[in-house]
Amino acid sequence: MRPIFCVDVRCSRASDSRRFEVFFHPALHRHPAFFQGLRTLAPQAPGIAAWGLMTGVAMVKAGMSPFEAVAMTLLVFAGSAQLAATPLMVAGAPAWVILATAFCVNLRFVVFSLHLREYLMHLPRWRRLWHGYLCGDISYVLFVRRYPHPGRSADERLEQEAWLAGNYGLNWLSWIGASLLGVMLANFIPTAWGLGFAGILCLLAIGCSLASSRLRVLAAMTSGVVAVLAYGLPLKLNIVVAIAMAVLVSLSAERLRSARAFRRG
């Protein structure tokens, strides 16, 4: 196997470099930064767990079998994309529409990955992909807040990687544990209670957290209205049309605003 730790001084420790390394790599979880990262996430863990619990409940309530809901939880590991994809899967929408919708809901991670790139590019690809897969919204936000700049030395980079792994490790545990519990409990909670609405409230909260500028609010309003007006389109294409329109409108407004600022000098 290709040694994974070759950019690092610890390369000399052959036993470490030969192991099947992911986030439980000893060099990471034995690092003191691992527990600092874990502790930073701890106050968020109840919120993540509640969100995970409701995602588990919502998937089963929407008509998924418990087996499918467990598979979704363990593999897909993306709450908002799961919640967006579930009704489409139950309705039997074409696979490409489901995958495209999930990708669009996940587009915020594409933006995050552009930011995380400079922190992770020194690692081999498989290791980067593991970190990327396991790093959800909250871990990303906390990580770049703790480390505003990528590490310059091998030691700094290892510390950052360990911190990130501890942070998303606890995030993963809270999320997965609560989701599985939600899948188990879903059948004891009557559908008429409408608890699935909690999933929508989660999406609403992430949406609000992204509403950081007036142009983004404009994008949200455009997209919401277009999604309803285009609701009659087949294959849930209203979502794709809504996103495209919102991006177009916001980019035009941005250009208009900068043109006006330019005229004003």
Binding site: F103, L210, A242, L251
Partner: protein, 113 residues
């Protein structure tokens, strides 16, 4: 497959969704090379996430099967407002859910809205 309550199509979609998670979260470090991207596309990217969420949430809050609701007596309106207010107050996802659901459940179960 039947005993598990699933079928190959669904499992295929779940596998596809897993790939989507990996690809989206690792998008800009999938390749070892740098990814030149036109400026407008980079700027456009920052509007897509909130647009995607809004496209999913708005029909779920303001419509019945795609038709705008014609009454204000709908628990979802009050729950979403309470949730958004709670979020902007404390910037906390858990509080958003708790506030939203504690408005939603009494109105929905108690008054049948």
């Amino acid at each position: 497959m039947d005993t598990l309550g699933t079928d190959l199509w669904t499992l295929g979609v779940i596998a596809g969704l897993t790939v989507i998670t990996v690809v989206a979260r690792s998008f800009f470090f999938l390749s070892d090379r740098s990814w030149p991207m036109p400026g407008w596309a980079q700027r456009g990217l920052q509007y897509a996430p909130i647009a995607a969420l809004s496209a999913v949430v708005v029909p779920e809050v303001f419509t019945l099967q795609g038709a705008w609701i014609d009454t204000w007596q709908d628990a979802r309106l009050f729950a979403a407002s309470a949730g958004a207010a709670a979020f902007f107050w404390r910037r906390n996802v858990l509080l958003t859910i708790v506030a939203g659901m504690s408005v939603y459940l009494p109105l929905h179960l108690g008054l049948g809205w």
